[in-house]
Symmetry: C2
């Protein structure tokens, strides 16, 4: 079997199992040929009343953080990146206890839900921002995470971006979101747990081992530096899915060095530009997986960014069975993204 | 705490945990107010070259089952419901062994992927079909499942429907799909496993206990008969999500009696009509959860249908963390659906 030497043939169907989460991904290349199988991006124009633009600060909630020019005041013009509480928050502050009534377990939805406005100018596509602005965004992510970590009120924090209507964005102006929760979200908790068991049984970090193997095989690598790797995962759920992570495992993104943040920002932009140039993917989600605050480095967990281009819809099979269908093998996706 | 007496207030945020799958669902009522939060259905017109219409049988693959008029031949007109192999199959027949290469586990994607064409006439909305036609569809589901079960080639079979572009349908003509797999899909396997442990520890069926409690509480019930219950689950992932199941647990839908199939079909149509009348939900998925073929009734598992109206998009948080945000409490959803 030579699956790792080259891309499987266009007619070959295969089920691959995600090593951590276990979900089966059915690779079905002919599916890409069916009618309407690839969604065209929906145009989103930015309205004049854009609340995220500079000078419209009075239209938003009051900022919790900003990267701003010296001598400018909070909630006034003069900022590069601005973080504000979400006007329609999914979570809000007051704490509540867990209530367990046999089959009905719940608690107050405590947490913090903020918007990171990524530019003072009305831009809809994050690829149109300068490298410098991209770096400012990533530094702002880290700065705000650090403050929340120090507050010690929440168990975990996630940063994610929805770009484009198909990816769930309701505001077209470039922005991402931050969600600090009193629970550890299922995917991160599964990854940390898996990583901990791997470390215990194998004596090394799962993430480090994964990357070592990926670099050796080479068929799924998109970008590679001395300290970072960008690759298409073996059991990718989505067509052209890409993950980005440092080679040396470290649990917390908020503890990354300036140099690491700079490299992550640079590689993220390069990846997004390649996705756009090669397949026109301007609608996507990216999401940070960072360890729960309470975790130390003993699990070998490694923070990473996951990018999901939104080229097709999510249908009954995915929502109802937790299995996925992907028309594009990651080997082909990586080859395409490398060749741009 | 009176959460089960009435619908929580519009400003109340709550996290509820799915008892089986564990995913946290954040109920955030104000979210429904944000711009573009509820999707309008996309109009899908049926083209003249519609391959699913009667007389166009030559445009499709050859039928594997049909409910047809006496004295008509396969692959000719004269049918009520017709099941054909998917032209763009996700899975196809030949069997393959599991290949485990440390972090990369995979096998040949074996299985069977078929389309159930639900009417000979060009209809886009399943609610526009007669009660008799609805029953024929459900009887066809059972008939085809029974044949596949008897073939003993696959581990499990799922039937699901994607109606509308937002729900993932690429063909507007009313149809659903059948996927027989060599693996048990994660959600069913988790449910069977949970149910088995519940039965072992509690001495009764989880599903029976759940329904008993729901009927006692009454606040989430949409429709109720002597033998069936239709309700909005406590930790619904999606706005206006509805589940439909028999009160007496039984693992396999393909072993349901004529009477049970008739009742399930009737209640499904009633539910879909109510969803359409009350909130205009014409884009949705429904999916059958039935036990793996190898399972007996000892786990207390119960087949059921889940309905997910597609009123909002799936964004980064859901895809990247496996947690959900729902702006509509199930108590409010049930109240709305009952009052139509």
């Amino acid at each position: 079997m030579t699956e790792d030497v080259s891309t499987p043939s266009a007619e070959h169907h295969e089920v691959r199992y995600d090593p951590i989460h276990g979900w089966p991904v059915i690779f079905a290349p002919p599916r890409a040929k069916r009618p309407n199988s690839i969604l065209s991006p929906t145009a989103q124009s930015i309205p004049d009343s854009n609340p995220f633009a500079e000078h419209n600060e009075y239209l938003t909630t009051r900022e919790s953080y900003a990267d701003r020019q010296p001598d400018t005041k909070p909630n006034t013009p003069g900022w590069h990146v601005r973080i504000i509480p979400n006007k329609y928050p999914v979570l809000s502050a007051p704490a509540g206890e867990l209530i367990d009534e046999e089959l009905r377990t719940r608690n107050e939805a405590t947490g913090c839900h903020e918007v990171i406005v990524e530019s003072p100018h009305p831009v809809a596509n994050v690829c149109d921002l300068s490298d410098d602005q991209f770096l400012r965004i990533f530094l702002s992510y880290r700065a705000r995470l650090k403050v929340i970590a120090n507050e010690q009120r929440y168990a975990h924090v996630t940063i994610f971006k929805n770009q484009g209507r198909a990816a769930g964005a309701s505001q077209p102006h470039v922005h991402s979101q931050l969600m600090a929760t009193s629970f550890v979200p299922p995917m991160v908790s599964t990854e940390v747990e898996y990583s901990r068991r791997y470390q215990l049984h194998m004596g090394c970090s799962y993430f480090q081992e994964l990357i070592k193997q990926e670099i050796q095989l080479g068929t799924r690598i998109v970008l590679q530096t001395d300290a970072f790797s960008v690759f298409c995962p073996y059991a990718s759920r989505f067509a052209f899915e890409v993950h980005l992570l440092p080679l040396q495992p470290q649990p917390h993104f908020h503890l990354a060095t300036d140099h690491e943040v700079r490299e992550a920002a640079h590689l993220m932009k390069q990846t997004l530009v390649r996705l756009q140039k090669s397949i026109g993917a301007t609608e996507f989600n990216y999401i940070l997986h960072t360890a729960p605050f309470a975790d130390d480095s003993s699990s070998g967990f490694c923070w990473h960014w996951e990018i999901y281009p939104r080229l097709s819809g999510i249908a009954g099979w995915e929502l109802g069975q937790g299995s996925y269908v992907n028309p594009i093998y990651p080997e082909f996706a990586a080859e395409t993204l490398v060749s741009v």
